[in-house]
Symmetry: D4
Subunit: 149 residues, 8 copies
């Protein structure tokens, strides 16, 4: 059993690397959005042509990124969404809603100060974690039935 | 043709009332979440029993509210999501993602300062408006083919 | 907004009547299995012909009852499943699983002594109640946004 | 043709091992829930944090286990559900209902004394067996067209 | 609860009329194919233009009839398929397969001499009846919980 | 049985009016795109704000029109697509493809000179007509089983 | 591109072997029902226990066979259904209807004397062939774009 | 992550070869319709028998081609549709509509003079490109997160 995991949300810390490193030896395949912030913002305009209007600049980029995001979520068994302590992070919440509607198993990683604001998101999740290491523990348990010591 | 419209998001201004008032005479049926903030926060604990732990207090409430939200979105033709200028509003973005995955026609209402932060949400929308009146104009046009003068 | 509610599970107390009575005045339409125990057991053999073998007697009846159950669950917004304190009640748990897979909003009504044994069922539910009156409170809140006093 | 088989239900005998052993040489891939009872009960609290309240302890565990269960059922061609002669086994019946709603081919393994209580579950099944060996015979026949001698 | 019933299959006896007459007073809405044999055979050519080639004459007619058949089956809760004692009746078996794949509740009406030949069709059905009156009894029981005296 | 019919395609002749007039007395409900060409082109910019760039002017309009089109097609039993003898009409072919993928019953109305170019579209249709009157004949036949004299 | 092909229908000639032989070298994977007539009839009773009543004997067998048939059709890209010149062959027509409802590409192989009786089945097909060799030609063309010389 | 890409539309230039060449080294698998124009037109008649009537000649061919097209689109993550500057190209627009209804990520390649006529098609796309090279750039970015220099 290969578990397909999509890692959505915050892109300013190394939480994805921690999970991928921690999950070494487990039968997991990971996918994620492009985490190069500048490339992600500009991909539409760079590839498809410059836009005067900033709104359409952003729009073209967001639509190109959606090609990757949609596939990543659609193919995932588990969607992990991490909320950090900065920024609006509406794309993270959007991905969580998208994944929930598709019936994906959702794991949310969030600091406790966001608990109230994320209650609707958490209500659709199968696990709410605080640290990336807990996600690794879940993946190991789900695949091997082994709990952390 | 009755257009079923779900009004998601910000609950601190009268934007829903404006749209409903503006749409009088049109064949639209509206649904929305419970907008009584206190009732919405406490419904789980009041009905199903008090929780010591604030997290589970919130959780029980969010799950009861999900009964209404899911039905509202699932039955809608159009989901309007308004982002205000305060608060995290992750539930709004979650609803937008949920609606997008179900293939609903999304209309986002947002102030221009959120344009960049909402670009992934907007990329899934069929219209991005600034004012509730524009939503009314869209509903009238969609139903009657008539543009505002 | 009419809320369609299917009342599954225990058939030896008047909990359905309590909920239907309590929900008077609310825009709810109720459905339920045939609760006449003898008719429910014998419908297959009485209508389609006697079976020597008890297994097939039961089988024919269960299949005829499935015509009603499937429609009731498939059309419901909310599926309420009550577990009583007697009998195996595997059909109740089966209905809960069936409803969960269809994405229905599940409300489970159970005595606290069953909490551990029902934990997998409850994990798929949006509310776990102890009394029929709490189901009425949920329906009223979901439809009107009003909490019990 | 690889047949994907999920083995749900009773975890207190070696019936899964019997089937897996018996199916050696057949093109079958098996999946199953975590059958370490203690780990299964405590996984939520051990990984995600201790809960005072036993209900939430159980709830967190059941939700983590659902990640594995849902994937196992969703990917299966055949879901085998074994009912033993002890315990409530509502999770087994829940899995059967869940699998039925997804259109999976259901095989139920049950002692004859449960025939009446399981009639609604059996009505959704393609086979009702008494012994694990019969499941092996079915898998061999389905894959190779060969009957037991 | 209105039960939507599609009456497929044999068109040379008055079995549909018997069921509709018998179900008077029950909340059932019936649909059926066009049972005017000549109109059914010729509708394509009469409306859309004559074909030299008999194959295409038949094809055009069958496709026009499919508009009605598909809608009737897609909207039905229950699909009743009657096999008579004459003709190939492949369209009846086709409708049964089509309905089964959509998860409709199937009732087959067949003379006992066809039992062996219809075993795969019957395996997908919730009831196998011999007489139209039994279908009426099922509909009454499903809607009212009342068995025939 | 009400037949829901969406009338897609060419907007420069009165073919929709002919069908609606011809179908008087039949239980049909019709939907269609906005056929006021200027309003249809400009709706996005007029309601949501002027665009310098013609491409985005068109884009905003097309997306607003999609709210109506998607609902019309999604709710239809039958989608009629008329191809005229002028213009590119790619939106007509797009609607046909969209409807085909949703399993709608497609009726194409086309002049014979387009037969070769429309062969892939026609291959997904249940009827290919030359005149609006033939569509009326089909609707009457489907609903009443009566052929034109 | 591997094309998955299910070969349904007539089991009294070697048409499956002809197609499989003819398709050698093409990237096709074939599946089919159990074609050992006796095993297919008796599998239910042999594995799951003898039935006095012939009807239930047949029923148990048909349900076990359905495990294989459903998987074969569900996974197929193309479902080929061959109607021979003998027997009722209602299971063949049932499979065709089942496959059609799932949106599979249907190829029917039939002698011309069945053209009228099969017109509803053919109306759901993408090809109607007379000989197994034509099926091979279609598979080769679909995979390689090459026509027979 | 392998990206499955279907290349639909114009068959008179080497744009497919350009994309496939440009994407060398990327984890992409391509599919496309048969681009041998004569074979594509005649496949039905050559394999399944000559038709006097040109309409049915075309029809048989278009249906055989649909076996390949449907599989290609159904399995694709990304559907690229190129509109050239000649011919009606209704099959291209049909494929775009078909892909859109299935929720595929659409990339349209079109010369600017078609922008107005393609606005409804473009409104369903995630990218509108002018040159095949831009499609390669998108595929590389989606898979590797790297922008062209």
């Amino acid at each position: 059993m290969t578990l397909k995991v999509y890692l959505s949300g915050e892109i300013h810390s190394d939480w994805r690397a921690q999970i991928i490193e921690g999950a070494k030896g487990l039968d997991v395949s990971f996918a994620a959005p492009v985490t190069d912030h500048a490339a992600s913002d500009d991909c539409g305009a760079v590839i498809l042509g410059v836009e005067e209007n900033r709104y359409w600049h952003d729009h073209k980029g967001a639509m190109v990124n959606a090609i990757r995001t949609r596939k990543g979520i659609a193919e995932a068994d588990v969607v992990v969404v991490r909320f950090g302590d900065k920024y609006k992070q509406w794309n993270a919440a959007f991905d969580a809603g998208y994944a929930a509607a598709l019936g994906k198993s959702l794991i949310i990683v969030q600091p406790s100060e966001h608990d109230h604001a994320l209650k609707e998101v958490d209500a659709a999740a199968l696990a709410v974690a605080r640290e990336p290491g807990q996600v690794v523990d879940i993946l190991r348990y789900v695949l091997k039935g082994v709990l952390p010591e």
